[in-house]
Each structure stands twice: as structure tokens, then as C-alpha cells.
């Protein structure tokens, strides 16, 4: 096997490899909190224009009405040595924007779906989406104060997750806890990729 190349050489410059991880979940589930607790700077915000693929909209044959939507995303950076930079993107929380993730999910190493047990249903669209797209993901149950503590197996059942999807408890405010979630995700993503090496991207 070839030895890994950590830097990708473009012309005369050597730049680190940029890696993207998505942090998804319902509104107020703790996406930006997690991005902030584990990133090296406080979360930054960017606005991106994304294309609506029109899924779920009435199919009007011959009418190609592609709309664009501007969404704001919070993101953070983790530099890993000189060779890699990890970017964590909080996906837009509004459910109606789920279709924008195709452009965001392209090339992502994986995704963290943050679940809030008080509103567990809020993370269903994210779970569905990443399952369908074949993006490796883990479910991180954010332990809010005052929330009923659930057994992880109960949550797994409620979300109808396949047994190989890791479910972990976390406190998105704590760096160590968020770090542990990311480690779990990257381990899971590595196993997923290793077991399906020839897998093509799930979407066109």
C-alpha cells in the first residue's frame, strides 16, 4: 500500500488538506455550542447561497425552477499539525432547509447529529438524510439540564438507527466531551470507509 500523503501539492504551494465535518440537529440542539467548545477560535459565521433541488415539490414536467436560498452557517476550525485543517460546520437548523445539505455534505468526512431528548423528533430529518446519502454519522445526545435522562438504547430505538451507528452522550459545552464525539465519529467514518472501499457517493 502506498504511504499516505498528507499534503496535496498544487503547483509551487503546499497547502494543508482541508477536511469538513458537519454538525447537524434541530434548532437549539447545541450545534453552535459544540462548534465553539472544540474549535480553536470562537465560531465564525458565513453566508452561503445554495441551490434548492426542488425535492418534495410538485413535479412540473419541463419546468426547471431551481431556486437559491441563502443560509447562514456557524463554523469553526481545528488545525491538526501543518498537514490538516478540520472545519466544523453547523448546518442550518431550520428543517425546511434540509435540501441544502447536498452541497454542504459533498466531500464531508462525516456528520454529528446532535439530539435533544426534549425534542427528539427534531433530529429525524438529519438522521434520514445522512442515512440516505451514505454519509457516516454518529448521534450525540446533548444532556441538557432538566431533560429526562434516556437510556441510549431507548434513543437508538426511537430513532430507528441501525446497530452500527454509534450513539453517545455528550455535553456540547465541554471541550473534552465534544472532542470525544468527534473521535467517535472519525473512528466510525474510518471503519465505514474501510469496509466499503469501492463505495461511490450516494448522490449524483
Amino acid at each position: 500500500m502506498d504511504s499516505g500523503r498528507s499534503n496535496r501539492d498544487v503547483g509551487r504551494v503546499k497547502l494543508p488538506t482541508a477536511i469538513k465535518i458537519l454538525i447537524a440537529g434541530g434548532f437549539g440542539a447545541g450545534k453552535t455550542t459544540m462548534v465553539g467548545s472544540v474549535s480553536e477560535t470562537r465560531p465564525l459565521r458565513t453566508e452561503e447561497t445554495l441551490t434548492d433541488r426542488g425535492v418534495g415539490v410538485d413535479d412540473l414536467a419541463g419546468v426547471e425552477a431551481k431556486k437559491t436560498t441563502t443560509v447562514a452557517m456557524d463554523f469553526g476550525r481545528i488545525s491538526i499539525g501543518d498537514a490538516h485543517v478540520l472545519y466544523l460546520f453547523g448546518t442550518p437548523g431550520q428543517e425546511r432547509f434540509w435540501f441544502v445539505w447536498d452541497e454542504l455534505a459533498l466531500g464531508a468526512m462525516g456528520a454529528v447529529v446532535i439530539a435533544d431528548t426534549r425534542r427528539l423528533a427534531d433530529c429525524f430529518p438529519s438522521v434520514d438524510y445522512f442515512e440516505r446519502r451514505g454519509t457516516p454519522f454518529v448521534v450525540a445526545v446533548n444532556c441538557f439540564e432538566g431533560a429526562t435522562r434516556f437510556d441510549l438504547d431507548e434513543i437508538r430505538m426511537a430513532l430507528d438507527l441501525s446497530p452500527d451507528i454509534p450513539v453517545v452522550l455528550c455535553d456540547a459545552r465541554q471541550k473534552e466531551s465534544s472532542k470525544k464525539v468527534l473521535v467517535t465519529l472519525v473512528e466510525h467514518a474510518m471503519e465505514t470507509r474501510a469496509s466499503t472501499p469501492a463505495q461511490a457517493p450516494a448522490t449524483r
Binding site: 496535496r8 498544487v10 497547502l15 470562537r42
Partner: protein, 129 residues
């Protein structure tokens, strides 16, 4: 470490009361697409040579980008620092790439991410954070 707060205010066309004086697409002279290729949010940008103020056709935002990217930054970071939409930044970057002031690198695609060494490096990096 970078912070938003040290943005040189004199680089931006802003008015405290009225907000942005120049609309984003004025800076790009109406263009919404960069002149070359797909530029992702995590595409990294690095400065290749400094730019003099006399350089024709480049605005203050171009100059700010060239200054910012002495250390490699992603499109998303540049957009956040300039407080401009990512789409506007893409167009500005296209100008700078055309003139050789900055170089950009495509982020790893799904196929590249398959590289096991990358996963291992990220894991080790995360564990030692």
C-alpha cells in the same frame, strides 16, 4: 489565532449608521460566478505575492484578502472576516487567482478522504487537542 476584532476598519466601505455603503455585487462588478472553477467553502487560499495599491482593477477587498491569506485560510473564513457572502468572495478570489496573487487548492473530495492515513492523522490530532 485570529479574531474578527482586528479587522482594519479602514479597509471596509462601511458607515456606522447606514451599514454597508457598497453592495456586495458592486465589488464584483455585477458578476456572480468566479472566472474559473468550483470554489468550495473549505477551499484553502494562500497568498503568492503581495499586491501594490496601484494594481488596477482591484478594490480594497482584494487587498484585504491578499493580506489575510499570508496564512492559508478557507473561503468560509475569508467571507467571515470580510463580512461578505461566500459567493462574493469566490468572485473576488477568481480575480486574484487570474492575476497570480493567490493560489487556491481544491478541498479533498469524498474519494480522497478514503485515504486511511488522513483518518489516522485526524484521529491522532483530535486525541491530543
Amino acid at each position: 489565532m485570529t479574531s474578527l476584532s482586528d479587522d482594519p476598519a479602514d479597509e471596509q466601505w462601511l458607515d456606522d449608521q447606514a451599514g454597508r455603503i457598497v453592495r456586495p455585487y458592486v465589488m464584483t462588478r455585477g458578476r456572480t460566478q468566479p472566472s474559473g472553477g468550483k470554489i468550495d467553502l473549505i477551499t484553502l487560499v494562500v497568498t503568492m505575492k503581495s499586491v501594490t495599491s496601484a494594481e488596477p482593477g482591484l478594490g480594497p477587498e482584494h487587498h484585504t484578502i491578499v493580506k489575510l491569506c499570508e496564512r492559508p485560510l478557507s473561503v468560509a473564513e475569508i467571507a467571515a472576516h470580510l463580512d461578505l457572502p461566500a459567493g462574493t468572495v469566490r468572485v473576488l478570489l477568481g480575480d486574484l487567482v487570474d492575476r497570480g496573487f493567490v493560489a487556491i487548492q481544491e478541498p479533498a473530495r469524498e474519494m480522497d478522504v478514503l485515504d486511511l492515513e488522513t483518518y489516522k492523522a485526524v484521529l491522532n490530532g483530535l486525541r491530543t487537542l
